[in-house]
């Protein structure tokens, strides 16, 4: 059943992306009327997958790469839906498409051999509420960074001054919301979990170091907003670099560098 839910979500997200592209290629300014509902349905289906696996292992299912990808994709879809509800500008349509394609990419990776989907109950180190908070808050924060990535790209490539300003506003707002959530999840809850599990709240493990690097880049981004000369293009570039580091922290460290986070 869970597999059918995940497959249906993948088909819905792919269809939503196709619809959004079709409407963007039309000359009119109207957005398609249904793709956001497809994204909401996908998000609910993916959350159902998480709930189903959680029931089976008697623990919140966010303890391996497959489960993380499904949860991350669900959050991105939900955020894209909310974004479409609260913002109606032209930039939002691009941001929505970017987020949709990103959610699709996450689900496609979750279907690949890189993320084995067999259900495994958590090993003792993972049986912690702090871990659940660490993972969920990190991904919710990172979902906002997905939005900031797309709007930063729009900001850099657009020639329209109004559109640039609108994209800049979306980038800043999404980082301003995502940054505290990411800080709480990746750094604070992660450090508390490490102390409770191993007695060492920070060990300079590659994943910890990369999470800190990502956090520093977004910290730098927020500070560039205070320097007039760096505002605009400079800060948009930092938002893009920040997201590249977010991705590397999640995928790159898991597959290229060894450390304490080999399970997810």
């Amino acid at each position: 059943m869970a597999q059918a839910f995940a497959t249906t979500a993948l088909i819905l997200i792919a269809t939503a992306a196709a619809l959004q592209i079709a409407f963007l290629m039309r000359k009119g300014q109207t957005a398609d009327p249904v793709s956001q509902w497809m994204l909401l349905a996908s998000s609910l289906l993916l959350l159902a997958v998480t709930v189903d696996r959680s029931v089976r292992i008697s623990f919140p299912a966010v303890t391996n790469t497959y489960e993380s990808l499904v949860f991350f994709s669900a959050v991105v879809c939900a955020l894209a839906f909310v974004l479409r509800l609260v913002m109606k500008s032209a930039v939002t349509r691009f941001v929505l498409l970017g987020a949709t394609i990103f959610a699709l990419a996450l689900l496609m990776i979750s279907s690949s051999p890189l993320a084995p989907r067999h259900i495994q109950p958590p090993i003792p180190a993972l049986q912690s509420l702090w871990l659940v908070l660490h993972v969920t808050f990190s991904f919710i924060g990172e979902a906002f960074f997905v939005v900031s990535l797309v709007s930063a790209i729009v900001q850099l490539v657009s020639r329209n001054v109004e559109r640039k300003a609108e994209a800049d506003r979306i980038t800043y707002t999404s980082v301003a919301i995502g940054y505290p959530i990411f800080t709480a999840g990746a750094l604070i809850f992660g450090a508390i979990w490490a102390e409770v599990a191993w007695g060492q709240w920070w060990s300079w493990d590659p994943k910890e170091t990369w999470a800190l690097i990502t956090w520093l880049v977004y910290t730098a981004y927020l500070h560039t907003r205070l320097v007039r000369r760096l505002r605009g293009g400079g800060s948009a570039v930092l938002a893009i670099i920040g997201f590249a580091f977010t991705l590397f922290t999640f995928f790159g460290v898991n597959f290229l560098l060894s450390g304490l986070h080999s399970y997810g």
Partner: protein, 314 residues
């Protein structure tokens, strides 16, 4: 003095230092940390090895390369925070103090990190059932039992060391279960479930009647393969020795052997299961400061967001 103050409170300095720490930390993850110099000498070219050794890149997080920028960052944060507070006191209209709390929280976190680096101690030890261990001059623990629980698929579910806690020889807590994510907290020290060891023994008799005692990991040759003792397992309510047969490095078969059963020229006479627990005591005087810093940071970030939002709405 004024120039130095202006330099230290500069946002540009903050950006430059943050990006510098970012770039250096990024490079540090590409170099394995804390190995012996021989490791770097054999792995890298002489020029690169010389650079790593000279800059202390093999121990980056305790090197000047990291500590100097972090010190400048802390100074920048401190001066910036003080400057903001002073400015707000002069201009009474400015009420956005969320960023100030964030800056102070970061200073508290850095201070906590420093205290941890300088004052944290840890000690690993193993205990068998019935053994006593002194944890601090006042506290000691006595291991009542150690349990290794497994899921149906054989993966570990829990390691639980059940201990009595004694303070100056008097029982303070009875049968406290120490497990991963559930440490025993005492005054100034915590005890963690860190590891376990299988010290089970197996008594074999060969065809000549000679007896040999073997431990986990030991084995014997059988024509072109070797049988290794891997574990003690319960099978149908009977304790059995789990043996793995290797040909070269390849696992070719597994066999469960009960008492009185034979494998090759050996007959199993007795199985004595003995699991010992590995515990770790940790004393970290910096962690409480870090928790205070983390709480302040969360409050500061939340307040910054709320104040920004209110400003936007206004």
């Amino acid at each position: 003095m004024h120039v130095l103050y202006r330099f230290l409170k500069s946002v540009r300095l903050a950006i430059v230092v943050i990006l510098l720490i970012t770039a250096l930390s990024l490079l540090s993850t590409l170099v394995p940390q804390g190995r012996e110099s021989e490791f770097y000498r054999t792995r890298y070219s002489p020029a690169l090895y010389g650079l790593i050794a000279a800059l202390g890149f093999n121990r980056y997080f305790s090197s000047a390369l990291f500590l100097v920028p972090v010190t400048i960052f802390a100074l920048n944060l401190g001066v910036c925070a003080v400057d903001r507070v002073v400015r707000r006191a002069r201009m009474k209209t400015q009420k956005r103090f969320g960023p100030d709390i964030v800056h102070m929280a970061l200073l508290v976190l850095i201070a906590g990190g420093l205290v941890t680096t300088l004052g944290r101690t840890e000690k690993d030890f193993v205990m068998s059932q019935g053994q006593k261990a002194e944890v601090t001059p006042h506290y000691s623990i006595k291991l009542l039992s150690f349990e290794y629980l497994k899921y149906e698929n054989g993966s570990p579910r829990a390691w639980i060391s059940i201990v009595d806690v004694l303070r100056d020889g008097v029982l303070e807590a009875k049968a406290f279960p120490i497990r991963v994510n559930h440490p025993l907290r005492l005054k100034g020290v915590s005890v963690y479930q860190a590891t376990w060891e299988n010290q089970s023994t197996f008594l074999f008799r060969d065809t000549t009647g000679a007896e040999t005692t073997a431990r986990i990991g030991e084995g014997f040759e059988d024509s072109d393969s070797v049988w290794y003792l891997a574990d003690v397992v319960e099978d149908g309510g009977i304790q059995k020795a789990l043996l793995q047969q290797y040909r070269g490095n390849v696992l070719v078969s597994i066999r469960k052997l009960a008492v009185a059963e034979s494998l090759g020229q050996y007959t199993l006479v007795r199985v004595q299961q003995n699991l010992v627990t590995g515990l770790r005591t940790v004393s970290d005087p910096g962690f409480s400061t870090v928790v205070v810093g983390a709480v302040l940071l969360a409050c500061g970030l939340l307040l910054t967001f709320v104040q920004n939002r209110s400003k936007e709405i206004a």
